[in-house]
């Protein structure tokens, strides 16, 4: 348990960074780092076994390397560097994020958890990461930041999953990762389409579509 607490705290700090930063490249890289850190969690919690090794390599490959590379490629293709005008400004989003994180910590205390999870940071971090992902999804205009929010949301679910990974079959986790990958692919195609039609990837433009 010694190593997991710093890991989970770093994950929360990365949430804050992503909420407060306008640079897309930096955001993608730091979310990739978050994914890579989370990949270490199964090893730290369950020790070295075939199951946790598969989880580790799968998560590292998908969350830490493959999807971020796709996203980096996407921002190179559509030539964008920064999120220019978020729906809510960066500082208010950051404040909301911290409030939500604090709320997650308070809320986790009221949950009827198993005894061994009571004092750990797992449940609050999972909730906080999911909330941050939601926040990113709803406050940003660019489709690519929304994909990042989706990725972060999935990271939060993954933290929950680690707690259950003894009980959860590998197939389910594989399915989740695959879902995510398909999601990113679809988003990539959609992004390209939006970009070609409107010469920008603001999702705001989509509301102007008529039949």
């Amino acid at each position: 348990m010694e190593i997991t607490n710093p890991l989970l705290l770093t994950v929360i700090l990365i949430n804050f960074f992503t909420l407060g930063s306008a640079r897309l490249g930096a955001c993608i890289r730091i979310v990739a780092l978050q994914g890579a850190l989370l990949a270490l969690l199964p090893l730290a919690v369950h020790g070295f076994s075939l199951h946790s090794l598969v989880l580790f390599s799968g998560a590292l490959l998908f969350k830490g390397v493959f999807i971020p590379l796709l996203l980096l490629r996407a921002i190179r293709e559509v030539r964008i560097r920064r999120e220019v005008e978020p729906v809510i400004g960066f500082v208010p989003t950051l404040i909301l994020g911290v409030l939500m994180t604090a709320g997650a910590f308070l809320f986790a205390d009221f949950l009827p958890l198993a005894v061994e999870h009571l004092d750990s940071l797992f449940v609050p971090t999972a909730l906080a990461t999911m909330f941050s992902g939601f926040l990113l999804l709803i406050t940003r205009r660019k489709a690519i930041t929304q994909v990042l929010g989706y990725l972060m949301l999935e990271n939060g679910i993954f933290i929950f999953g680690v707690l259950l990974s003894e009980a959860l079959p590998l197939m389910v986790e594989g399915g989740v990762l695959l879902d995510l990958l398909v999601g990113v692919f679809v988003m990539g195609i959609v992004m390209n389409q939006i970009n070609r039609e409107f010469s920008s990837i603001n999702t705001e433009s989509l509301t102007a579509l008529k039949e």
């Binding site: 804050f16 960066f90 500082v91 911290v98 994180t101 604090a102 910590f105 308070l106």
Partner: protein
């Protein structure tokens, strides 16, 4: 008690200007220059002290009060915080509030002295300084609250007491790391160092602290320079005590460890100044709000 007070003041008054020298030397080393001698600040102080006062005819007594309060406040504040493992000479319940607002007092008088000259340029600097430090104040208070929660006391001596070593090893270690980072940012801002303010440029429209003291000269400017060095030492002492909470039991080794910690801090500031550029002015409040939020988060972590 008296010996303690004398030792405290001796360390403070003698070694504070050295910190500025170490920072300058580190920056010079990074740039591949020889740089000013380590003791340059002492020479500067000596030179300024031998000059005469020059006052503009438009200024009043407020103008002189700025430097005087700026020198007196860090002296008073230094008496309330422990230097490494050396306990603070003056300590009472709740002095953390006084500690924070003493700096507010000095800021008020510096700003008032700047406004007293009637120059719009200095007024601009005063406005910036006040804005930024009012954003930095929550961070400092939340950091002290975290420490108060961990120690269970309300005086600086208890906040930075022996419990720190045990706290680092316990669950609270993460919060302590967070508040260490927050305190470092506050130190950089309060001492007007580079990501927030450039201490080496004069007459530039972007500067903050330096513009306010533009009209001071001679001994008054010396007081400002000395006061700034003392302030850096006092805030640095807070950081050093947090980062190095060991007590060797002998006053000499304790003070040596403390001074070594301060030198490392000064080198760190020098490295940051060499490696970073100044932040754009609108970015500064964002960073400060960010650190306030971090310190609130640290508080939430220790409260649960």
């Amino acid at each position: 008690m008296l010996a303690n007070l004398v030792l405290h003041l001796f360390i403070l008054l003698l070694f504070a200007p050295l910190l500025l020298g170490i920072i300058t030397k580190t920056k010079a080393w990074f740039a591949g220059r020889v740089g000013a001698p380590l003791l340059q600040t002492y020479y500067d102080l000596n030179r300024l002290w031998r000059k005469g006062f020059v006052f503009s005819r438009t200024t009043t007594w407020v103008f002189l009060l700025g430097p005087v309060v700026g020198l007196a406040v860090p002296l008073l504040a230094a008496l309330m915080i422990p230097f490494g493992a050396l306990p603070a000479p003056v300590s009472f319940e709740g002095d953390l509030i006084l500690f924070v607002y003493l700096f507010g007092l000095s800021r008020f008088f510096t700003a008032a002295a700047a406004l007293d000259t009637g120059s719009s340029f200095e007024g601009m600097g005063a406005a910036r300084e006040v804005t930024f430090s009012c954003l930095a104040e929550p961070t400092l208070l939340f950091v002290l609250l975290v420490l108060a929660r961990l120690s269970g006391g309300l005086s600086m001596n208890t906040l930075l007491g022996e419990h720190l070593l045990a706290s680092w090893r316990s669950e609270a270690g993460a919060s302590l790391t967070l508040i260490l980072v927050c305190l470092f940012v506050v130190l950089l801002l309060e001492c007007s160092r580079i990501p927030f303010d450039d201490p080496t440029t004069h007459l530039e429209l972007t500067m903050i602290h330096e513009v306010m003291v533009l009209d001071h000269s001679g001994p008054a400017f010396g007081m400002i320079l000395y006061g700034a060095a003392l302030k850096m030492m006092v805030l640095g002492a807070l950081l050093v005590r947090l980062a190095i909470p060991w007590d060797t039991g002998w006053w000499l080794t304790n003070s040596l460890i403390f001074l070594a910690g301060l030198s490392v801090l000064a080198v760190l500031i020098g490295v940051i100044e060499s490696a970073m550029a100044r932040l754009k002015l609108p970015r500064v409040p964002q960073v400060l709000v960010g650190t306030s939020l971090l310190s609130i988060f640290a508080l939430v972590l220790v409260l649960r």
